[in-house]
Symmetry: C2
Subunit: 238 residues, 2 copies
DNA sequence: GCTGTCATTCAACAAGTGTTGAGAATATAT
DNA sequence: ATATATTCTCAACACTTGTTGAATGACAGC
C-alpha cells in the first residue's frame, strides 16, 4: 500500500480513484488536478485511470454521476412526501423549498467527507460556463423540473418566468454555500462560518420563499431604484 | 500583426495580454488556460508575459485588479448618493441593494465585452475555494463592509448575523447570474435567457430585499420544515 | 549619429501532461 | 491444479507546460 488515505484503504482501485478525484476536482477544478495527483492520492498507478474509466474527462463525469442518482431519488421522495402531507390542500412554499435543499444539507453534514466534496464539485460545475450547461442539465434537469412544478403548485398565481428567475437565485445561493470558500468567515469577523451549514439551512428557505413571493407580486408595486445614469461611453481603454 | 482580434489590435502588448487573459480565464479558469493560449490570442510572444507581469499567477491577479478599483469607486459613489438622497431619513433596503448591484449590470451590459468577461471572472474567483477568500477579500472587502453598513442602517433592528447570511445569498445569486452559463435557457425552455441581465436586474433587488426582511423577522414565526429524518448512516460505499 | 532604455522576439530548458501497449499479479472458475 | 478473466503495474511515448537568458527591434534624448 502506498499513500492511500486511511479512509479509502481497503477498497478496490476504481473506487479509490473516484474518491481521490472527487476530493481534488472539488478543490481545484478539472484542469487544476492532474491524473498523477489523483492516483498518488489514491495510492494507485496512473494507468489504472485509463483502464477503468477511459480518460480524464470520463473520470470526471463518472465522479459527477456517482452520487447524482442517489441524491435525486432522495429529493424526489421528499418532494412527494411534502405534497402528500399537504393533501387535500397545497404544500407551503417553504416546505417545497426545504424538500429541495434538505437532502443537500443532510448529506453534506452527516454523509461523510465524500459527500461534502461532492457538493463542492457540483458547485464548481454549476458555475462553470464550460461544464455547467452540459452536465447539470443532463443529470439534474428531470428533478429540477419536478421541483419547479412543485413551486408552481405552491404559487398558483405566479407567472412561470418569475419562478424560473427565483429558482436561479436559489441555486446561486446554494452553490456559493456549498463551495464553502470561507470568505464569509473573514468578512463577518468570525460571526458566521461557512462550514456552519445548520445556520444556512435554517435561513435559506425563509429567505428564498420571501423572495419568490416578492417576485410574484412584483407587477403591482415596483421598488424604487437609484436614478438611471447616463449610458457608459465605450472607451477603448477603460 | 498576427492573430490578434480586431478589437485589441492597435494596443500595447501588456494590454493585449490582459484583454486576452481576461477573456480566457473567465471561460476556463486559471488552470484551464495556458500562457500560450493567451499570447496566441493576443498575437504576442509567450515571453512577454514574464517581462510585463512576472508569471502566470501575477498575470491572473493583474487581470483581476485592473477593473476592481474603477468598479468599487463607482459603487461607493452610488451608495453614498443613495444615502444622501434619503436624508434626513434612512434609505430603503431596495435602494441600498440596487446601489450595490447596479454598476455590475450597467458595466456588463453597456461596458463592452471586456467588462462582461471580467464579471464572469469574478464569479469564477468568488466560487473558487482556492482563490476566493484571498482575492475577493483583498480587493472587495472594504467596499462590502460599507455596503453591509448600509444594509444595517436600512434594517436597524436586524441582528448582524442575519445580514451577513443574507449578503452571502445575495452574492451567490449575483455570482451565478454573471457566470452566464446558459443553463437557465435550457431549463426554462427559452422562457428566460441568461444573457438577459435587464430581467435579472429588475428582479434581484425585490427578491433579496424580501429575503432580508424575512431573515430579520425570523425569530418570531419560523417556517414549517419537513419532518427531520433519522440520521444518515455513514455507509462506506454510498 | 550615437547611446541607453524600454518593448518584444527567439530558442531552449527541465518538468509535467494524458495516453497506451506489454506484461505481471491476482482472483475466479472449472 | 490449470485455465481464464480481471485487475493492476511498468515503462515509455509524444506533447504541452511555465520560465528564462540572450539577441533584436523601436525610439527617445542629446
Amino acid at each position: 500500500m502506498h499513500k492511500a488515505s486511511r479512509r479509502t484503504a481497503g477498497r478496490p482501485g476504481n473506487e479509490r480513484i473516484l474518491d481521490a478525484a472527487e476530493q481534488l476536482f472539488a478543490r481545484r477544478g478539472f484542469y487544476g488536478v492532474s491524473l498523477r495527483d489523483i492516483t498518488r492520492e489514491a495510492g494507485v498507478d496512473v494507468a489504472l485511470v485509463g483502464y477503468h474509466f477511459g480518460g480524464k474527462r470520463e473520470l470526471f463525469t463518472a465522479v459527477f454521476e456517482r452520487r447524482a442518482a442517489v441524491l435525486n431519488r432522495e429529493r424526489l421522495e421528499l418532494l412527494e412526501q411534502v405534497r402528500r402531507r399537504a393533501l387535500p390542500g397545497r404544500p407551503t412554499l417553504e416546505a417545497v423549498v426545504a424538500a429541495f435543499t434538505q437532502p443537500l444539507f443532510d448529506r453534506s453534514t452527516r454523509g461523510g467527507p465524500g459527500w461534502k466534496s461532492y457538493f463542492a464539485l457540483v458547485a464548481y460545475v454549476n458555475n462553470s460556463p464550460e461544464f455547467g450547461p452540459l452536465m447539470m442539465t443532463r443529470h439534474f434537469d428531470p428533478l429540477v423540473g419536478k421541483f419547479i412544478a412543485g413551486l408552481r403548485a405552491a404559487l398558483p398565481d405566479c407567472p412561470p418566468r418569475e419562478i424560473y428567475w427565483g429558482y436561479q437565485f436559489l441555486t446561486g445561493a446554494l452553490t456559493l454555500t456549498f463551495a464553502e470558500t470561507g470568505r464569509i468567515d473573514a468578512l463577518s469577523g468570525g460571526l458566521c462560518r461557512a462550514t456552519d451549514l445548520e445556520s444556512v439551512h435554517e435561513r435559506l428557505s425563509p429567505y428564498v420563499a420571501a423572495g419568490f413571493r416578492a417576485l410574484c407580486g412584483r407587477s403591482l408595486a415596483r421598488a424604487p431604484q437609484p436614478r438611471a445614469r447616463p449610458a457608459l461611453p465605450r472607451r477603448r481603454r477603460p
